[in-house]
C-alpha cells in the first residue's frame, strides 16, 4: 500500500515536471538567459508554498501518516562543498538541460539519448564516492 503511494507520488511528480516544461532543455537554457519568467515562477511559487508548508509541519508538530514524530534535519554547515559541488552541478544542469528528476522523467518520455546522461550521472556519483575523502568539503 505504502509502496503504491510512492509510485503514485512519483508519477504525479513526473507529470507535473513534464507538463510544466521544467524537464525541457529549452526552458533551462531560457532560464539561464533570463529571457522568461517561467522557470523562476515555478521555483518561486514552489518555494512560497513550500516555506509555508514546512513552517506548518514544524510549528504544529504534526505526526507523519504512520504516527511518527517528524524531524527535519538541518543541512550540515559548510561553504566549500556547496559552492564547488553546486557550481559543478550547474555546469552539468545547463549542458544536459536536466537535473536528476527530469532525467528519469525523460527516460519515460522516450528520449533515449537521455540514458547516456543518466549513465554519466551514475558515473559522476560513483567518482564522488571514491574521491570523497580527498575532496575539500
Amino acid at each position: 500500500m505504502k509502496n503504491l503511494a510512492y509510485i503514485i507520488l512519483g508519477t504525479f511528480l513526473g507529470v507535473v515536471l513534464y507538463k510544466s516544461e521544467a524537464a525541457s532543455w529549452f526552458r533551462i537554457y531560457e532560464m539561464f538567459q533570463f529571457d522568461s519568467f517561467h522557470m523562476y515562477g515555478i521555483m518561486g511559487s514552489a518555494l512560497a508554498v513550500g516555506v509555508v508548508l514546512v513552517f506548518w509541519i514544524k510549528k504544529s508538530k504534526v505526526k507523519s501518516f504512520s504516527g511518527e514524530t517528524i524531524n527535519i534535519q538541518d543541512k550540515e554547515k559548510s561553504f566549500t562543498r556547496y559552492i564547488i559541488g553546486g557550481t559543478l552541478f550547474g555546469l552539468g544542469w545547463a549542458l544536459a538541460g536536466a537535473c536528476p528528476g527530469p532525467i528519469y522523467i525523460l527516460v519515460g518520455a522516450g528520449y533515449w539519448p537521455i540514458v547516456i546522461v543518466l549513465i554519466g550521472a551514475v558515473l559522476g556519483a560513483f567518482v564522488y564516492g571514491v574521491l570523497r575523502d580527498k575532496l575539500p568539503h
Binding site: 556547496y82 552541478f89 549542458l95 551514475v122 556519483a125
Partner: protein, 194 residues
C-alpha cells in the same frame, strides 16, 4: 464552453508556473508527512550501491532496502514522464521566447521552438555524431558529481532546503547558477558554434 471542457483543454496544454510550482511543493510536503524527504539525486548513489560500488568505497555500503521508497518515486516519475509525453501532450513544442529561439538558432539549434528537447542532442539521429555522445556523457557526469558533492540537487536544495530556510542550500543554489551561467554564456559558444 463549460468548465469541464475548459479544464480538460488546459490539461493538454503546457501547465502554467503558478499551477506547477505549488504542486511541486505539495509533493515535497506529502513526502515529509510520509516520513521521507524530497531528493532525487541520492538515487544515483543507490544505483552505485546496487551495482556493487561498495567494493570500491565504504561510502556506497548502505542498506539499499532503506532507499527502496525513493527508487519507487523514480519508477513513478518514469511512468509520469511517459504519461506526460504520450498521453497529455498532443503538441510537444515548447514556446520559449523569440529572443531565446534567435540565440539558439545562432548556435545551430534549428529545432528551437518546435520540439520539447533539442533534436540536435536528443534524437536518435543525433547519436551518429560522437561529439553528441561526449556532450551528453560529460553533462551527466557533472550532474552526478556535482549533486553528490553538494549533497543535493534542485529537489533537495532548491526546493526542500530553501523551503526549510537552510543557508547551505542557498549557497548550493548560488553555485547552481554560477555553473549554469558559465556554461550557457561562456562555454556554449565554444561547444556549439559551428
Amino acid at each position: 464552453m463549460t468548465f469541464d471542457e475548459n479544464l480538460s483543454k488546459m490539461l493538454y496544454q503546457p501547465w502554467p508556473w503558478y499551477v506547477s510550482g505549488p504542486l511541486i511543493a505539495l509533493i515535497m510536503a506529502l513526502l515529509i508527512l510520509m516520513g521521507k524527504r524530497f531528493g532525487m539525486s541520492s538515487n544515483l548513489e543507490t544505483f552505485c550501491s546496487i551495482g556493487g560500488a561498495g567494493k570500491f568505497s565504504d561510502y556506497f555500503k548502505i542498506d539499499v532496502k532503506s532507499k527502496r521508497w525513493n527508487l519507487l518515486v523514480v519508477l513513478g516519475s518514469v511512468i509520469g514522464g511517459f504519461i506526460g509525453a504520450h498521453l497529455l501532450s498532443p503538441n510537444p513544442a515548447v514556446e520559449i521566447s523569440d529572443k531565446t529561439v534567435a540565440k539558439l538558432q545562432e548556435l545551430g539549434f534549428e529545432s528551437a521552438g518546435t520540439s520539447y528537447l533539442p533534436l540536435e542532442l536528443f534524437s536518435m539521429a543525433s547519436l551518429s555524431d560522437p561529439k553528441v555522445w561526449a556532450i551528453l556523457l560529460v553533462a551527466g557526469f557533472l550532474v552526478g558529481l556535482g549533486t553528490r558533492y553538494a549533497g543535493g540537487c534542485t529537489s533537495g536544495h532548491a526546493i526542500s532546503g530553501l523551503s526549510n530556510l537552510q543557508r547551505p542550500s542557498l549557497i548550493a543554489v548560488i553555485g547552481f547558477f554560477i555553473g549554469g551561467l558559465i556554461m550557457v554564456h561562456l562555454l556554449f559558444p565554444l561547444i556549439f558554434a559551428s
